[in-house]
Every structure is written in structure tokens, then in C-alpha cells.
Amino acid sequence: MRQRFTCDTLKTAPPVRVARRTGGDALEPHTGLVAMHMSDGIVDAPTSVIFGLVAVLGLAVCVARARRDLDDRTAPMAGLVAAFVFAVQMLNFPILPGVSGHLLGGALCAILVGPYVGAVCVSIVLLLQALLFADGGLSALGTNITNMALLGTFVGYGVAVAMRRIATRSRGGLVLTAFVAAWVNTVVASLGFVLEYAIGGEGLALGTVLGLMTGFHALIGIGEGIITALTVGAVASVRPDLVHLTRSATPSLTITGVRA
């Protein structure tokens, strides 16, 4: 039966190979090797609880401050930003042969929507990844949020603010700032892991962990930095009003002293 419907030309024609190699260009669901989503059991229970509390307290502050940037009614915008972070975290990029990292998006978010909204968005992404996709352990949620959403985002934003003078001068300056902020964000997040491991981990010498994690993440940070920098550049060229970092510097149109 099936033979009758098969066209001869289809049989003999070479297969169309459009998506032959998609290794470096992903934006499709990744299959593990998550660079910094810690699993359960890496640090002990007391450390997990302590960093869980740190994450809850830090997030409470962030939510309170984010309300200033973003009242309850504009939360839908933050929801879409969070969806963007989630989608972008699926973007794998090659670091070394066989090893790929994915974007954390902390510095990207902080530069585009501000550190408080950014930290809340990244935290929500981490929470839902743990609850819905089993990506990152439940007991490691506190440490993951502390590293990626709080430490990484705020230190990255601090770097960006320190470099604001360069960032506002030119597009190249903004791109450079975004690169440095994203690189520092990645390395600092890995240092957060080293700190947690020093408090509640076992098995490896601290120097080895420090060397492995910072070395590995210094490489990941380059990928994160390039993607963050070019993304911020692309946004700034189309909608400069959306870049939170330089927003206050851009002259706003105000009407003053209207006289009859």
C-alpha cells in the first residue's frame, strides 16, 4: 500500500540537510550539564537552610525595592522579562570541545531592567526550574538563588554602575561595560559556590574547588560576556529607553514653564 504513495524522485533525491550542524547555535532545550544549578547533596543540610534563609531575606528586600521600579500593575512586563530569561537560559554555547555552558542572564537583566527587578526575575526562573523541570535541587534552591540571582546580579550591576561614565559615553562603552559586568557576574556566582562549599561541602580540597570553579567560570564568563554585551548593544540601538543602566543619563523630554 505504502509503495503506491511513495514518489520515486523522493527516494533517489539526496536528503535535504538544512539543520546539519546546530552545535553552536542552539536556543533549544538543553539536555543537562547545567553549569551552576547545584543539585541536592553538594552542601550539607545546615548550610542549605542557612542559604535558604539568606535567599528569602534577600528576595524580600528585592521585592520591596522592585515595587518602586515596577508597581503591581506593571508586573506583566516583568513576567515577560522572566520568560525571556528562561528562554535565554536554554541557549547553550560551546566553551571547550564537549563542554558547553548556558547563559545565566543576571547581568543582562540587571543592565536592562535594573538589579531589583532583575534579581526577582532570575529567582523566579530558578524557583520554577527547580519545581517544574527538576533543574537544580530543592534543597539547593537557596544556594542557587544566592549565587545567581543575588550575588551575581548585584555584583554585576555594581560593576556596571562603576563603569557608567564609560557606558554613557558611547555604544562601544556600553558594550564593554556589559561584557565586564557579565564576566564578573559569572565569576562571582562561582565564588559564591566556593564559599558555600567551604562552609558545608566535603570531599574536595578547597584550593582544588576554587581553581576548578573559577577557571571554568572565567571561560564561561567570556561566552556570557559576549552574548550579554552584544544583546545590550542590540537593544540600545533600537530602544535605548529600555536600557535601565543608562536611562537616567538619556535626556528625557519634559515640558517646563508653559506660558499663556
Binding site: 521585592v63 508586573a75 512586563m77
Partner: protein, 254 residues
């Protein structure tokens, strides 16, 4: 994530576990994972019993083991990495310090392997029995700030849209001959990440305006769930208490 109501790990059903309120399940899952993490690593039998406890939950939820095993593999590369690390660290030391440190490295690797695996299995069980909408209303029941719940709801609703948008952009790049092999060829990919942000943000602006024009005042109406009765709690907490007792017994026995 079909139609914003299900997610890839959700397995529709009508078992006792499915019917439990989401906030109860979230609390129980956190407690069980904490108990597993608190168990001393030498208490091998305790981990086996905790696994049997999970098997009991799967029987009650009617989740077939094969289905679970394939989903739990998501985290396998990470677990393999965690197991390899102690070998990397412990390898050269065996000659220096003798066997005792190698055993310690093995135990540390076992610790991460067993706790990571049990943790993933708990997460997958929670995700398999809880639909999306219930999860967010469960979080709101657990006093998570309303702003976080609103952001989470909208994120989950639009995630599929954003991912589909990203996929279309990728297809468009590939069909125009884009075939990156090296980091310096990432330009087009990265420009589409920028475009994706703009499209997401502008979609957010449109969604916000649409919500306002339909009378949105800042609170989502759907976050009302009934509180769980004491009977529900006492049934649901059985696995958590059992896991905690097992963890304590691990300290006793060793």
C-alpha cells in the same frame, strides 16, 4: 507546555497524590529533600529505605518507574560530573596519603550521587503530579508575595510563546545559511537574542495594556485556593516524617 496548563514533566492523573493541594505537596517535597540531605552519608541502608518510601508514593500516584527514570536522566550529566570530581581530586593523593583519603573521596562522591538522585526523583514526582496553575496558587498560599506570583504566572503563560519565537528566529537564521562553528560567528545569534528581548518586552507592554483595558487592578483573581484540612496535612506529612525519622536513625545506627 501545551496550552499553558501542562508542562513537560506533568503526568495527568486522578490519584491521591494528584488530588493533594499544591502547597501541601511543595512543603512535603522540601521536607523530604531536606531529610535526605541531612542523612549521614555512611547510612547506606537509610538511603535505600528512603528510596522505598518514594516508590510507595509512586505506587500511590500510579507513576510507572520507566517514565520516572527517563525524566530523572535530565540531571544525569551533572551527577556524573559530581561523581568524577572526587576522583580528580583524590587520584594523586592516594599515593601520598594511602587509601584512607581515597575512601573519603569515594564517600563524598557517593554522597552527592545518592542525594542528588533522590532529590531529582522527589522534584520529578512533585512536577509529575502538580499542574502549572495549581503550583503558582500553591506558592501564593505559602505567602509568596503577590508580585512574585503574578510574574511567575505570566512567565509560565508566555514561556511557550517566547520559546516558539526563539525557535522561529533560529529556523530563519539556519534557512538563510547560518551555520556557526566558532565563538566569533555568534553575531547573528546574539542579535536575535537582543531582538528576542525587545519582542518579549514589547509583548509585555501590549499584554499589560490589554489587561488594564479589561479591568486589571494589580491582583490576579485566580489565586484563591482552599486551605488544607488538618486530616489532609496529617496524611501528606507521613512521607516527610518517615524520611526525617529515617535520617535521624542514620545518626543513631552509625
Amino acid at each position: 507546555m501545551a496550552a499553558g496548563h501542562a508542562h513537560p514533566l506533568y503526568r495527568a492523573g486522578d490519584s491521591v497524590v494528584h488530588r493533594l493541594p499544591a502547597h501541601v505537596k511543595i512543603v512535603v517535597a522540601f521536607l523530604v529533600v531536606l531529610a535526605v540531605v541531612a542523612t549521614p552519608r555512611e547510612a547506606f541502608a537509610v538511603f535505600g529505605l528512603q528510596f522505598l518510601l518514594l516508590v510507595g508514593v509512586w505506587v500511590a500516584a500510579r507513576i510507572p518507574p520507566g517514565w520516572l527514570a527517563t525524566r530523572a536522566l535530565i540531571e544525569a550529566p551533572f551527577v556524573v560530573l559530581a561523581v568524577l570530581l572526587p576522583f580528580f581530586a583524590g587520584g594523586p593523593r592516594v599515593e601520598w596519603w594511602g587509601m584512607s583519603l581515597a575512601v573519603d573521596g569515594l564517600l563524598a562522591g557517593w554522597n552527592i550521587l545518592v542525594k542528588g538522585t533522590l532529590g531529582v526523583l522527589v522534584s520529578v514526582t512533585l512536577a509529575a503530579t502538580t499542574p502549572l496553575r495549581d503550583l503558582v496558587s500553591g506558592l501564593s498560599r505559602l505567602r509568596v508575595p503577590s508580585m512574585v506570583c503574578v510574574i511567575a504566572t505570566l512567565m509560565l503563560r508566555y514561556l511557550e510563546v517566547i520559546v516558539a519565537e526563539a525557535r522561529r528566529m533560529r529556523l530563519a537564521r539556519i534557512s538563510r545559511g547560518h551555520d556557526p562553528r566558532f565563538a566569533w560567528q555568534l553575531g547573528a545569534t546574539v542579535r536575535s537574542v537582543g531582538a528576542l528581548f525587545l519582542r518579549s518586552y514589547e509583548r509585555g507592554e501590549r499584554v499589560h495594556l490589554a489587561m488594564l483595558s479589561r479591568g486589571y487592578t494589580g491582583t490576579m483573581p485566580a489565586f484563591t485556593t482552599a486551605p488544607a484540612s488538618r486530616a489532609t496535612w496529617s496524611v501528606a506529612l507521613v512521607p516527610a516524617v518517615a524520611a526525617a525519622l529515617l535520617a535521624v536513625s542514620g545518626y543513631w545506627a552509625w
